[in-house]
């Protein structure tokens, strides 16, 4: 019962936030839309690849530890 209420509440909040955010963004002038896309796009690519970088660093340790144990 509580879980169902929690899920419903979460869905309502998400829907409201998404609708609000998208209404705000679609109402922006074209130049602002372009600049925001560029800014978030470039920063986003760097952040995602930064995450991949840390993932590779972790994998390197994981892999080398396993191979050392094997030896």
């Amino acid at each position: 019962m509580f879980c169902a209420w929690l899920i419903a509440a979460q869905e309502a909040v998400t829907a409201t936030v998404t609708a609000g955010a998208s209404t705000g963004l679609t109402a922006l002038p074209l130049a602002s839309k372009g600049l925001l896309t560029t800014l978030f796009g470039l920063v986003g690519v760097f952040l995602v690849l930064l995450l991949f970088f840390f993932a590779i660093k972790l994998l390197q340790n994981f892999g080398s530890k396993r191979e050392t144990t094997k030896e």
Partner: protein, 410 residues
């Protein structure tokens, strides 16, 4: 039916060639001929340019007229034409880009990147051109493209400008499948021909486009910088876990990139798992060849004269080239920026390999390094940046779809 009407119907193709439309057809035949010439004589990515060129010839053949009804009958295009069937089933459904990525994933060796993960940032820096061109396209599209210029200001006009600008920007990533994916996602069917032709032809012109940009931005001394490379191999467990981890991370953070990242990484897992040699080889050879044939001829089929011989095409081709140049410049300048803080300098040419054209871009960089200093070997670092560029362009594509989608309320 008199004899002249009969002859007209019988030789409708010959009659068609005498009309204004026929003249456009001839121009398209010349363009197709140039593509085929570049493929055969100059060896510029023949696997793509030849099918594209021949597809364009097929798409511009005179329409077949039914002798009884006088209506257009089935030809290579039209609702039942085999090229239309290929387009609807392979491009509209985004199936071909995804299948191509399985093949590309099976061909890519990520071990140089796993050994030197710092190269991954060149894959991000070389996406600079996408966004710079996106902004430039936003300024030029409403001025140059007549039907967009004629639209009243409003959300609809903003939507087409943003969608078209994003697809043009992505051309700079030198990643044909991602360009097709973005253009198709934004329902840019009308502009598909110049966008895809620009993406694939510039990809094949990497050896022509990149060297002058690299030379303009670097000194001879910088091009001669040597970089050390350890022969130590990447741990097998890391190679196997990498495609799985990247798929999960990309799927969670940029869900729009999941189909492309997922297929690329699936192909790579086939390669590195070590127990599916047969499937890996099939993905690398049979699947890659088959989809390349179908993709090439289908892209060529979009080059119908009335969609291609327009000012938009020149704008898209021109901006695509600018995107390519900006991407190369972004990577090189980022490497030079890093060198300001590093003790062990990076050869800035490595940055140019951060675009997605794999492995052409890395080969170009190695060739240039060797031309400056015959004993300079930067291929492995360039390959690392190049595979990072493959990841970077897909992530950029996913982000552009997400962000532009939010801006236009899609």
């Amino acid at each position: 039916m008199d004899v002249s009407a009969l002859l007209k119907e019988l030789f409708s193709g010959v009659v068609y060639m005498g009309t204004a439309e026929g003249l456009k057809t001839l121009v398209m035949f010349v363009i197709s001929g140039i593509l085929i010439y570049l493929a055969i004589k100059k060896d510029y990515e023949p696997a793509l340019l030849l099918p594209i060129g021949f597809g364009a010839i097929l798409a511009n053949l005179p329409p077949v007229i039914d002798a009884v009804t006088g209506n257009p009958a089935a030809s290579v295009l039209g609702s039942e034409g085999f090229l239309t069937v290929l387009f609807n089933s392979g491009i509209k459904t985004e199936l071909f880009p995804v299948l191509i990525f399985i093949a590309v994933g099976a061909m890519i060796d990520f071990s140089p990147l796993l050994k030197d993960p710092s190269m991954i940032f060149f894959g991000a820096a070389a996406q600079f051109g996408i966004f710079a061109t996106f902004l430039l396209a936003m300024v030029l599209i409403p001025v140059v493209i007549p039907n967009i210029a004629a639209m009243a200001a409003g959300p609809e006009k903003d939507s087409i400008i943003l969608r078209l600008a994003s697809a043009i920007g992505i051309i700079g990533a030198a990643d044909g499948p991602t360009t097709l994916y973005v253009a198709n996602h934004f329902k840019l069917t009308e502009y598909m021909a110049p966008i895809s032709v620009a993406a694939y032809s510039y990809m094949s012109l990497v050896p022509v486009i990149q060297p002058p940009v690299i030379r303009a931005l670097t000194t001879k001394k910088e091009r001669c910088i040597r970089m050390t490379y350890t022969e130590q191999r990447a741990p097998r467990a890391a190679l196997i876990l990498f495609p799985i981890v990247v798929t999960v991370l990309a799927g969670i953070i940029v869900p729009m990139s999941a189909p492309l990242v997922g297929s690329l990484m699936f192909g790579n897992l086939l390669r590195v798992c070590g127990v599916l040699e047969r499937l890996s080889k099939t993905a690398q050879n049979e699947l890659a060849n088959l989809v390349t044939i179908l993709l090439g001829i289908t892209i060529g089929s979009t080059m119908v004269a009335q969609n291609f011989l327009r000012w938009d095409t020149l704008l898209i081709m021109g901006l695509g080239l600018i995107a390519f140049v900006f991407d190369t410049a972004g990577g090189v300048l980022f490497a030079k920026f890093l060198n300001l803080f590093r003790k062990n300098k990076i050869n800035p040419m490595i940055g140019a390999a951060g675009i997605s054209a794999f492995p052409m871009s890395a080969r170009v960089v190695q060739k240039m390094a060797k031309a400056e200093d015959p004993y300079n070997f930067v291929l492995m670092q360039a390959i690392s940046a190049n595979v990072a560029g493959q990841l970077g362009s897909i992530v950029a594509g996913g982000l552009v779809i997400t962000l532009v989608g939010m801006m236009i309320g899609w």
